[in-house]
């Protein structure tokens, strides 16, 4: 059994509901269901937020076509061990809808599907190494 540091982490999630329906979502870290406050493990973590109950009629529009009510889930921030990983989560996280489309919505989930973000703990090492991933297109 490895004795490794655990990293206190917290997600902030904003939801948008309909008068008669609230969005259902599940958060998992490393395949274990967790709440918005969770413990990340030393090494690679896989954080998933899955939006479950959006129906075809859950986006309400007015006569002009403007959205007046919607069922959505928005990931607002992620703090791991007091280090803010929000920008990295929004730009590097992958949102795959149940239709199989990959959407770049920066943490805004408007269709059923799964948002996945992989990060490394300690987070300062993750931030340092992320630079190299950005350079990948130059190789």
């Amino acid at each position: 059994m490895l004795k490794q540091k655990k990293f206190l982490s917290s997600l902030q999630i904003k939801t948008s509901s309909l008068p008669d329906k609230i969005p259902l979502y599940v958060i998992k870290n490393n395949n274990k269901v967790c709440g918005v406050n969770f413990e990340a493990k030393f090494g690679i973590n896989r954080l998933e937020i899955e939006f479950l109950n959006k129906g075809v009629n859950d986006t309400m529009v007015n006569e002009s076509g403007e959205i007046v009510a919607d069922l959505t889930v928005e990931i607002q921030n992620l703090i791991v061990d007091e280090v803010d990983l929000t920008t990295q989560l929004k730009t590097n996280g992958v949102y795959v809808t149940n239709d199989g489309d990959i959407e770049n919505t920066y943490g805004f989930l408007h269709k059923n599907g799964k948002f996945t973000f992989e990060f490394i703990c300690p987070p300062f090492l993750f931030l340092r190494n992320l630079e190299f991933l950005k350079n990948k297109q130059n190789d």
Binding site: Q4, F124, L125, K136
Partner: protein
């Protein structure tokens, strides 16, 4: 089971076999622990210096502004992973002690500790003079970041000779602040034990050693510590932050160690780790006299040196140095301007400089002068003084003088210059760019001394040296290229500031 494995973290220059692991091994074994020493940094240089990615990865380790490609980073990561595997599978120690010599060792240390911690319960102890550097992004010192992140269990701030075995025996976690060893304790420390070292790492052609020009490639250079700390209090230097008080071993003990290493490992070349080999004049003279009497015309040594006047250091000292085998000294002249040297706290007058230079030449002892351009009070006249001093002595020293341009003046964490007193005295304003605050600063008392001016002065010095002797100083072009990268960052920063100022006005 092995109690402790002591390793060095790249990047460090392969100077010769690293002293810290060999010395700490002796200290641990003296307390009944089992210990092994591995100069991992030298092994890294030895195995990979000819690889296509090596130079770039080393540049990344030493300069935070350098970015790697994913290919380069993957190459580096695999190497770190392999070293971690060897530590876990071959050595499997209870403790891993990582020696972090400077900022250049931090990245490797971070990754090595990560890989080791990811796969094992080996406890990690970190020490060395590279621990104290402040990390602006995280508002804490580097060692605290390592502890808080779970990458290290124990940190020794200060000297580890006594505290490393204590920490292991008592299973100490957290920060250990080691009191400075006394002169008596320094004399009681055992001699280093290099038996675990593979000397092939040092004896082959290695372009990362400082002694290649003068030494045969099969010869090893061993490190010797005669003193710790410094008798001077130069305000740009962080030595006093590491060793507040100057302590010195007896001349007899240092001579004994040199003779022991010479006998045990058939070594003839030695390099002192001291900030100043002539900080304590009596022990320095004693050592030279003993070596000259006991081991005449056998060994050669080098070390850092301060220019002293004729009254403090009359000719007999230089004669004894030559007879003992002093081959070369490195002198922190820093500036050819006496007034700049006085403001630095260096205290060497023009007369001291002249006396030392002439005496060293007379006794055929080579000398390197370290030069820094752009000290906060340095004016254009001061800079021209430096240029004329260098030109004068280069032409009158029989080829025994080398100029080593160290770079532009940096604000070093832990140096007195970073204290409110000096910030106030010089009206310093420091700017943090990309998390680093050492090179972009201005001084209210000397506002024309901006980063681009400092670079221009440094360039003038390098250009002169290259034209003076292309084969000897051609290497400076690489330094200039690296400095120009920083200059680009500076120009971008200035431009952004101007745009920001315009937009807010």
């Amino acid at each position: 089971m092995l109690d402790v494995l002591i390793v060095t973290a790249p990047f460090t220059y392969t100077f010769g076999p690293s002293l810290a692991p060999a010395l700490l091994k002796s200290c641990a074994e003296e307390k009944g622990l089992t210990a092994k020493a591995w100069d991992l940094s030298a092994e890294f240089n030895y195995h990979y210096q000819t690889h296509q990615y090596y130079d770039k990865v080393v540049a990344w380790m030493t300069d935070p502004q350098v970015l790697l490609t994913a290919l380069e980073f993957n190459w580096y990561s695999e190497i770190v992973g392999d070293y971690a595997d060897r530590i876990i599978k071959i050595y499997n120690p209870t403790w891993l002690a990582v020696s972090v010599l400077s900022m250049s060792s931090q990245r490797f240390a971070e990754d090595l500790c990560y890989h080791v911690k990811k796969q094992s319960n080996i406890k990690i102890l970190i020490g060395g003079s590279g621990l104290n550097i402040f990390q602006y992004q995280y508002q804490k010192k580097w060692y605290q970041l390592m502890l808080d992140s779970g990458l290290g269990d124990t940190v020794i701030i200060g000297e580890g000779e006594i505290e490393l075995p204590n920490a292991i025996i008592n299973n100490v976690n957290g920060v250990v602040t080691a009191p400075q060893l006394t002169n008596k304790q320094l004399d009681e420390i055992p001699f280093p034990n290099y038996n675990d070292y593979d000397f092939n790492f040092y004896s082959s052609t290695n372009n990362r050693t400082y002694w290649t020009k003068e030494k045969n490639n099969s010869e090893l250079v061993f490190l010797i510590t005669g003193s710790k700390g410094c008798v001077k209090s130069c305000n740009f230097c962080d030595v006093a932050d590491i060793w507040a008080k100057y302590r010195v071993r007896s001349g007899q003990r240092v001579a004994d160690e040199i003779m022991y290493l010479h006998r045990t490992y058939q070594i003839n070349l030695f390099n002192f780790t001291d900030s100043l080999i002539n900080g304590g004049l009596k022990p320095f003279l004693d050592m030279n006299v003993i070596l000259a009497d006991t081991l005449p015309n056998t060994i050669k040594y080098e070390g850092q040196f301060i220019c002293r006047g004729e009254k403090d250091m009359p000719e007999k000292y230089f004669k004894a140095m030559a007879l003992a085998g002093c081959h070369k000294v490195q002198i922190g002249i820093e500036s050819g301007s006496e007034s700049v040297r006085i403001r630095m706290g260096k205290g060497s007058s023009d007369a001291d400089l002249d006396h030392s230079t002439r005496m060293l030449c007379k006794y055929n002892i080579r000398q390197d002068w370290n030069i820094i351009t752009g000290y906060p009070s340095e004016t254009e006249d001061d800079h021209q003084n430096t240029m004329s001093t260098i030109k004068h002595y280069l032409n009158t020293s029989n080829g025994l003088l080398d100029i080593i341009p160290r770079g532009v003046f940096l604000l070093i964490e832990g140096s007195p210059m970073m204290s409110p007193t000096y910030f106030g005295e010089f009206g310093l304003e420091q700017e943090i760019v990309n998390g680093h605050g050492s090179f972009i600063w201005t001084s209210e008392i000397n506002p024309t001394n901006t980063f681009d001016r400092r670079v221009a002065r440094f360039e003038e010095l390098c250009d002169f040296l290259i034209s003076f002797n292309e084969s000897q100083y051609g290497y400076l072009r690489k330094m200039l290229a690296a400095l120009h990268l920083k200059l680009n960052i500076y120009n971008e920063h200035v431009k952004t500031k101007k745009i920001f100022k315009l937009s807010t006005n």
